[in-house]
Symmetry: C3
Subunit: 213 residues, 3 copies
């Protein structure tokens, strides 16, 4: 498998898992067929559309290449008909979300570097594409976005993006090492979930005891 088809496979896998994550969350909210497909579609393709606009790849792949929307729609429909029992939905969403986070972070950082975006901007764009899908899914479903909650989320994505930029800089880029970077994101995110790792919170001097986060 050459590097450009590996990138396509990684990208489409990310689309599929984010669509499944968005679709599962929409099923949990009891949305109808089109609501489930719509949330899956936006969760899977929203981040990539923004990325393609930023690196001036127009029209974005979500519109220029039918395999992208087809993958998102098929994955959302699969979730609609085959979704797991309600008590396992939350775990399913979180697991798929972590996989999509890893895949999108890696493919988007690579695409940004290819388009000539400087390393710092490429890492930020990779992270934003990675977290964008889950962010939009949560906003649409009226949840506080997962990225703003206490667990390590954006930082897992940022670590992966920095790993990709470093591999490219060192000349060690290959399908194998980039897959490793995607796995790194997945493992950090899942471990943070299970161990309840969390980032430091601000100390408030005003004597506040209520927690509105």
């Amino acid at each position: 498998m050459d590097s450009s088809s590996a990138l396509l496979v990684g990208d489409l896998a990310g689309v599929a898992v984010f669509a499944a994550s968005g679709g599962s969350a929409a099923v949990g909210k009891r949305l109808d067929l089109f609501g489930v497909v719509f949330v899956g579609f936006v969760a899977a393709l929203g981040g990539g559309i923004l990325r393609d606009l930023v690196i001036n790849q127009v029209p974005p792949l979500a519109f220029a290449d039918w395999r992208y929307p087809a993958t998102a729609i098929v994955a959302s429909l699969a979730v609609f008909w085959l979704h797991p029992h309600l008590d396992r939905l939350r775990r399913t969403v979180l697991g798929l979300d972590a996989a999509g986070l890893g895949l999108f972070t890696v493919t988007s950082t690579l695409k940004a570097l290819d388009a000539g975006v400087p390393a710092v901007g490429s890492c930020l764009l990779g992270m934003l594409t990675g977290i964008g899908g889950g962010l939009v899914r949560d906003l649409l479903l009226n949840e506080i976005p997962v990225v703003l909650r206490r667990e390590i989320y954006a930082v897992a994505s940022l670590l992966g993006a920095i790993a990709v930029a470093s591999l490219v800089r060192l000349g060690w880029g290959s399908v194998l090492t980039f897959t490793g970077a995607a796995l790194l994101v997945f493992v950090v995110r899942i471990t943070a979930l299970y161990r309840h790792w969390s980032a430091p919170r601000p100390r408030l001097g005003g004597g506040a005891t209520t927690d509105t986060g």
Copy 2:
């Protein structure tokens, strides 16, 4: 009327009805003058700005052609001063919204096809532009977006977009047939509202009986 001025008229009519729909919804929330104009502006022009970025028409018409913002602002102001009684506001918003959905779906699908976007992508972009205005309006006003509720909404838009792409492919495109496609969207949407058509909902195996949609 030649085809490009027909496109302009259809686009501006869509801007006016979506601005009126956004403005009416904002009046219902008792926002002030600028809030009403702002929600009307974003509902009318937000979808088109995204569309123009995607097809690389920059700056987007909302900024490049003063008739677009002027139409949105005048329509919002008209709603502010002339708005109907409160008990008719909801029906007004839904009717204007259905008209805007039809107009924007048709004009945006045509613009995307003209810009060389493939047929599948053009239909999706036409649908997203059509539903984008109402989506942003509802997010700003802290409502669950109408597109995610139970009635047929996105599917009416998608039918219209597919009709437009088919007409173009068959060489049957004209002001008359495209107007028919816009009417199709309007009629499907309004009929769905009155008949309470709805898309299938997921069956949940976990014994859930509460409905959070």
Copy 3:
């Protein structure tokens, strides 16, 4: 200081104050370190990313020039560690927000004019960039956006944008006069806050007495 470095300084100052405003609001919601930095980042750079896409400056400065994200991140971190006592947070957010509104309105209107956007579109884009940061901040934190509330907000920004476009048209543009336009926005906004100026609200004929705004 020549005019292009003045524009850079004004832009980075706007980034810093909007990041501080977003970070302070996130601290008030008790978000963790990464949530605070993320909200600060998006509040500071979101409006400018949209502006750069609209005027076809790609990749947007937020990704192309590392000083932009660095400024946003440092300002957010500073707020995280040095934030004022809780009882002064709301006032801090409002003051920083007014300063950012003035700076972004002026720099974005100038950039749009430089990019060849017509005067009406440039004023609208300057206003949208100015109000965009606070809008996204409030949406992320699940607040009704400040721009939709009763105080004069968008109108202060629009006045500043019209002042900038007029100064350019009259040939009176200079660092001094543009700084005056930014101050105008700040003073109008702060005065409106202290005097409780508000825009007119719609009269509802349906006998509604409850206020849901």
